[in-house]
């Protein structure tokens, strides 16, 4: 055969495109480009959501950044450092020496701005000095004459000519005159103190190495409004002689004395009734204790060893009351020279003899930063008030480091595995993001929320899947087309029903209804299938002439009145059953006799309510899958003598099974992300119980509740974004599987 190629006449082309053909061609081209860009926008939108969520989440997994800023020469002091730090803006560095001399250095120029010494009384000398916990920035000097001086670092901020000026000075909370602690005038060796505005405690060793405790309690005189100080003293008889380190908790309830590898913990709540609470063995096989310090909040003790190990201890309620116990330990490279904790968070920094600076966070067990710096002979380290700077004394220099440490409390392991929080008897999954108190540590474990999500989805699927799939099979395979055209949109309209209404009904109507009619629900579960079977059997045995009266296409409608009647009947006999079997109060019966916790808004309510929301999704897709099984397959099976049921189970369902699977996946995706129903139909408590009578808190509901009140950029905010990201990934996974399966199925059908 000869192919004839006809070239179009150039005139014809001109005719087709007409005048201004180039304009039209450009227009055509532009439309194509525009539409293509518009089309890919959908994909871009999805990518944008994905990457934006990731972008917000990412910083919580970033480590900390420590960068050296300046080094300052210590000019006029030979006495070792007691305390180091800076002001809030990191403009002034201070160094308090053990002899009570305070030097302030300008952080920019490295110049000494001011030196202050405490006003020592004549003839007295410093025999013991101590610091408060980091956040209080106070120190005390114990004198040889039985007196002491208490001082705090203070930075005054003024704004002359709109310029910030910071002036450092010292504050004397207990007055600038020395306070007599020991009436006998014995020296206050190894002084340790605790201070609050109405209570001061001092523990010290006298010249005979005996430990004393003096407590001053202030009481305001009602008439003169003057504060009178009343002193009580106590003797600690069983204290060790040789004490290397001593600490007092800021609430002045515990005194800790370290002697070698032993830590003696005293209860000093009453000055005249001091008791030894616990002797903590800190001994390790190949390591010696170098330092003991309190973590922020003063509930935990950090013990550092010369092997580079730092161990955290806190009190745990046990058989012998609250006892200190080792919780976790960290490996901070070589021998730890000094440890400092942040003012408010549970981060701490260690400096090793080799100059390694390691930043760690206790609860999340994260090593945030570790690097070696040129720090020869490090002695002391201290945080700035906002924890964004570090002051390290090494050799005869003070080094200021900038610290960038925004989200130390979050780590992958803290979110997904059990964490032992201070004050908890054991490691646990806890979600508790906010609290009323100040020194509260946020507990951001996503586990209870993920669990709650799974639980809610599971109960919803348990309720919805059988109903939806059975319904879909019947509608697609057995129902007459006329009724199908009514039934299908009716059930599908459920999908459009706002979930807030389902949630409202579940919380305010269904939950009390179920609570009041528990036996009725139980009866309903049993009676419903039985009644359907009974109706079917009756129908089967009905004489033919009765059957003829009802056209066969309406056969299924017969079940409607039966089910309505059974529903009404179950609720009607509920009180009677309650009286007969549950002592008239089934809820009390469950709580008291069975010992099961019963929440009014529980998983059962959520399961039913969310089940309803999911039924149309599953129903619609599964129905489509069953309906589009080619008729010749089932006809062939029927022609070979199989019954309707056999054809259905062996041929139709088998062919449609990927579609049904995809329907379930879609339903699961919807159940996992559903917010309003869970928010309204459960108590939203983050517990981890499978019980059908208890509630849960899901990821989605948690976001809805907490997102509006979380501060932008905070760890809490970012963890909530992570929760959203987890939901996103989760549903992405289910939906993609469902879609791929469905596309395959479509191809297969078209080949059949």
């Amino acid at each position: 055969m000869v192919t004839q190629v006809i070239k179009p006449d150039p005139k014809a082309k001109n005719l087709l495109m007409g005048k201004g053909s180039s304009r039209r061609a450009i227009q055509d081209r532009l439309t194509q480009v525009g539409v293509t860009i518009g089309g890919t926008m959908v994909f871009v939108a999805l990518l944008l959501i994905f990457f934006y969520l990731l972008y917000v989440v990412k910083p919580i997994f970033d480590g900390a950044e420590v960068t050296p800023l300046v080094s300052v020469d210590i000019t006029n002091n030979a006495s070792p450092a007691l305390m180091l730090g800076s002001d809030e803006q990191n403009e002034i560095i201070y160094r308090v020496s053990e002899s009570g001399q305070v030097d302030f250095y300008d952080a920019k120029s490295g110049q000494l701005i001011e030196t202050e010494t405490l006003p020592l009384p004549q003839g007295a000398e410093v025999v013991g000095s101590a610091t408060s916990v980091a956040s209080e920035q106070r120190f005390a000097l114990g004198l040889s004459n039985g007196q002491m001086l208490l001082a705090g670092i203070n930075f005054g901020v003024t704004y002359p000519n709109n310029q910030r000026v910071i002036t450092p000075d010292l504050r004397y909370p207990a007055g600038s005159a020395p306070l007599t602690v020991d009436g006998n005038g014995s020296p206050l060796n190894n002084l340790v103190f605790g201070y609050s505005s109405d209570k001061m405690s001092f523990a010290y060793q006298d010249q005979n190495n005996l430990w004393h405790l003096t407590r001053q309690e202030g009481e305001e005189n009602m008439m003169t409004e003057e504060v009178e100080w009343i002193a009580t003293t106590g003797l600690i008889t069983d204290a060790p002689q040789d004490v290397q380190q001593r600490l007092m908790t800021p609430d002045q309830r515990q005194l800790l004395l370290r002697s070698g590898d032993k830590l003696f913990i005293y209860n000093i709540r009453d000055a005249d009734d001091i008791s030894l609470q616990q002797v903590l063995e800190l001994e390790l096989a190949k390591a010696k204790v170098t330092d003991v310090s309190l973590l922020a909040g003063a509930s935990s003790i950090l013990v550092s060893y010369d092997s580079g190990l730092v161990a955290q201890y806190f009190q745990v309620n046990g058989e012998r009351g609250r006892q200190y116990q080792e919780i976790r330990s960290f490996d901070a490279s070589s021998s730890v020279a000094s440890v400092a904790s942040e003012f408010y968070r549970k981060s701490f920094v260690t400096v090793s003899d080799q100059g390694d600076l390691t930043l760690l966070y206790t609860t999340s067990e994260r090593e945030l930063f570790s690097e070696s710096f040129d720090l020869k002979n490090p002695k002391k380290v201290g945080f700035s008030p906002r924890s964004n700077a570090l002051v390290v004394e090494a050799g005869s220099k003070l080094h200021l480091f900038a610290v960038e440490n925004s989200h130390p409390e979050v780590s992958w392991s803290a979110m997904w595995s059990k964490v032992w929080y201070e004050g908890y008897p054991e490691p646990k999954f806890v979600w508790q993001s906010t609290s009323g108190s100040d020194d509260f540590e946020a507990k951001l474990s996503l586990m209870p929320l993920a669990f709650g999500t799974m639980k809610a989805a599971l109960y919803a699927m348990l309720f919805a899947t059988p109903l939806a799939i059975a319904g879909a099979i019947y509608t697609a395979y057995f129902m007459s087309p006329k009724i199908r055209s009514i039934v299908k949109p009716t059930i599908e309209i459920m999908e459009a029903l706002p979930t807030v209404i389902l949630g409202f009904l579940a919380g305010l109507w269904l939950a009390p209804l179920i609570e009041d009619n528990l036996p009725g629900i139980l009866v309903l579960l049993v009676l419903l299938p039985l009644s359907i079977l009974a109706t079917a059997f009756l129908w089967h045995n009905l004489p033919g002439k009765w059957k003829q009266r009802l056209p066969e296409t309406y056969q299924e409608l017969m079940l409607l009145p039966v089910i309505i009647f059974i529903g009404w009947f179950s609720f009607a006999i509920s009180p009677a059953i309650e009286v007969a079997f549950f002592h008239g109060d089934s809820r009390m019966f469950i709580t008291n006799e069975l010992g099961i916790t019963f929440d009014q808004r529980n998983a059962l309510v959520v399961g039913i309510a969310m089940g309803f929301a999911v039924i149309p999704t599953i129903f619609s897709i599964a129905e489509d899958a069953v309906f589009s099984v080619p008729r010749h397959l089932s006809n062939g099976s029927l022609a070979l003598g199989a019954t309707n049921w056999q054809t259905l189970t062996r041929v139709v369902l088998l062919t449609a099974s990927p579609g049904i699977f995809s329907a379930i996946m879609m339903g699961l995706g919807r159940a996992v992300g559903e917010t309003m129903i869970v928010l309204m139909a459960t108590g939203n408590t983050a517990i981890m119980e499978w019980s059908v009578f208890e509630g849960m808190r899901t990821l989605a509901a948690n976001i809805a509740v907490e997102m509006p009140e979380s501060a932008i950029g905070s760890s809490h905010y970012r963890v909530l974004f992570l929760a959203a990201f987890v939901l996103f990934i989760f549903t992405f996974f289910f939906n993609t599987i469902a879609e791929v399966v469905r596309q395959r199925l479509r191809e297969r059908y078209s080949s059949l």
Partner: protein
């Protein structure tokens, strides 16, 4: 029997049962919402009970029956109730709405059928609707006009006339406050911002300062005048009062400025009740909410929902339609198209709360925050667009409903017979011309369907809105008479959120519940009718193209 089981017929019946249960659930749910929502406006019968209290004393209770339930006697006994004569196994218990909140403490109480001595329906009980403290039930005794007790034969007519006067005055006061005083406040705020803007630009000269000061002074003078007449109206409305005998038998004085309406529900005829019902529905739709949203109407919520949804429709339609056209007309079969299809499915499947989170972070904080810094530095640190608002809500929901529009439009496109396109191309039209002149007009009903479905979806969505712009009570609507008239940065009220808020966050859930049902019914009826319209349009479309094909 065994044979019957083997035939599989019982299992078929079971699947039939599943359909029936689903159907009953859907229809039952819709009917229940309709019934409860619509009966809210029906004037209820008011009863007067004589009751025995546990100590054997008699007391009177006036109120409406709110709920009724059967309680096992045993449960009541274990809760500490003492019966004089043992009743049967269960006792009927009524929940009675007694109103009179400020006098009796509890405006709802349960009474047991066994305690009731008598129940009557006195004709002259008045149900008084008030703007504060909920309803009041009692017998009007006298009207007090300007401190003088009026001696009248027909108290009821006089009472109604006086209420009408007070309501009218109150309405005037509210209008004055909202429109004119509101405008002045707005203008003052604009002046302050203007001054700040000059200051930031370094252009705040003395002349400008003086000019602004003059304007401020004139506004202030206007304000004082308006304020005076406002307070005059208020005092005038509070002039009269009414003396009412309540269920404790005490005479109570109620000021007329808080009274909105009085009905004698035991007396009015069926037609009267129907009229009352329509008035109630009308007020529900057109009034502002009162008493922390638990009473009054839902007009701002309706307005907010409609406005946001319309804004969203404007945004989502072009994008959705273009994407659908790309997928159906331009895209070649390949991995890219497949990926876009998967993206569409996923956009439809991503939980709505995730959109809320994205919208809050991306639109509100990032986008809005940048806008504020660029264009509204004078208002900072108070955010303008950098806080949740109606524009961000519309944008967020636009992404959420994008797949709905795409899927529906694409379906419409695929139903247009390819012969039509080929015909157009054969006659010399370009692809773009075919698209504009032939394909899109033919697909427009499908686009409409998609739009309707998107609107229905958006109207019912609450979770993301809680993060990006909805509030329980917005002081102003997004549209008002102040330039630039449309305020896209404002927060708005939403019917769905109203349901959540009133049902779960209000202090008196019991009192608010009927209102929540009414709001639910409103929302459901809007959404269901939108969906039915969409289905109708789609079916019509299918029929049309089927005839085209042959």
């Amino acid at each position: 029997m065994g044979k019957w089981f083997k035939s599989g017929s019982p299992w078929i019946w079971m699947t039939g049962g599943a359909v029936s249960i689903s159907l009953i659930a859907v229809l039952g749910l819709l009917l229940m919402i309709a019934w409860r929502g619509l009966s809210y406006f029906w004037p209820a019968e008011v009863y007067q009970w004589e009751l025995n209290d546990p100590d054997g004393n008699r007391y009177t209770l006036i109120g409406e029956i709110y709920d009724k339930e059967e309680v096992p006697t045993e449960r009541l006994i274990s809760a500490g109730h003492v019966f004089k004569e043992m009743p049967g196994e269960t006792v009927t218990r009524y929940l009675v709405k007694t109103g009179n909140r400020e006098f009796v403490g509890l405006d709802f109480r349960w009474i047991l059928a066994t305690d009731i001595i008598s129940r009557t329906q006195p004709e002259n009980i008045a149900v008084i609707e008030r703007s504060k403290n909920g309803d009041f039930y009692g017998y009007p005794i006298a009207v007090v006009e300007d401190g003088k007790r009026l001696a009248l034969d027909d108290i009821e007519a006089s009472f109604e006339a006086h209420i009408e006067r007070a309501v009218e005055l109150n309405d005037k006061a509210v209008t004055l406050q909202k429109s004119e005083i509101g405008s002045i406040n707005y203008a003052m705020e604009q002046l302050r911002l203007q001054e700040r803007r000059y200051e930031l630009d370094g252009q705040l000269t003395e002349a400008r300062k003086a000019e602004i000061a003059v304007k401020q002074a004139s506004l202030q003078a206007d304000y004082l005048l308006l304020e005076k007449s406002f307070f005059a109206l208020r005092t005038e409305a509070a002039r009269d009062s009414v003396i009412i005998k309540d269920m404790r038998g005490e005479e109570v004085v109620l000021k007329l400025d808080t009274i909105l309406d009085v009905t004698y529900s035991n007396r009015i005829s069926l037609i009267g009740k129907v009229g009352h019902w329509f008035v109630g529905v009308g007020r529900f739709i057109s009034d502002d909410p009162r008493e922390a949203n638990t009473e009054g109407g839902v007009f701002p919520a309706i307005f907010g929902t409609v406005f946001m949804v319309m804004l969203m429709a404007v945004i989502v339609t072009p994008f959705g339609v273009i994407a659908a056209i790309y997928l159906h007309e331009y895209a070649k079969k390949g991995p890219v198209t497949k990926m876009i299809r998967i993206a569409v499915i996923n956009l439809a499947g991503v939980p709505s709360i995730v959109y809320g989170v994205f919208g809050l972070g991306f639109f509100v904080y990032m986008f809005g925050g940048t806008l504020d810094q660029l264009f509204y530095p004078e208002a900072l640190p108070a955010p303008t667009f950098g806080s949740p608002g109606v524009l961000w809500s519309a944008l967020t929901l636009a992404i959420l409903t994008l797949p709905v529009v795409i899927v529906s439009t694409e379906e419409g496109l695929s139903r247009i017979p390819s012969a039509v396109r080929q015909g157009s191309l054969a006659l010399g039209a370009t692809k773009a011309e075919t698209l504009w002149r032939i394909v899109i007009p033919m697909a427009s009903p499908a686009i409409m369907t998609g739009l309707i479905l998107a609107v229905a979806r958006a109207a019912g969505e609450v979770a993301p809105l809680m993060l990006v712009g909805v509030v329980k009570l917005a002081p102003t609507l997004p549209i008002d008479m102040n330039f630039p008239f449309v305020h896209l940065e404002r927060k708005f009220m939403h019917l769905g959120f109203h349901i959540y808020d009133v049902g779960f966050q209000s202090p008196n859930v019991e009192a608010a519940r009927p209102l929540v049902y009414a709001t639910s019914f409103l929302l459901v009826s809007v959404i269901v009718s939108l969906n039915l319209t969409a289905i109708g349009v789609r079916n019509h479309l299918r029929e049309k193209y089927r005839s085209l094909e042959h």
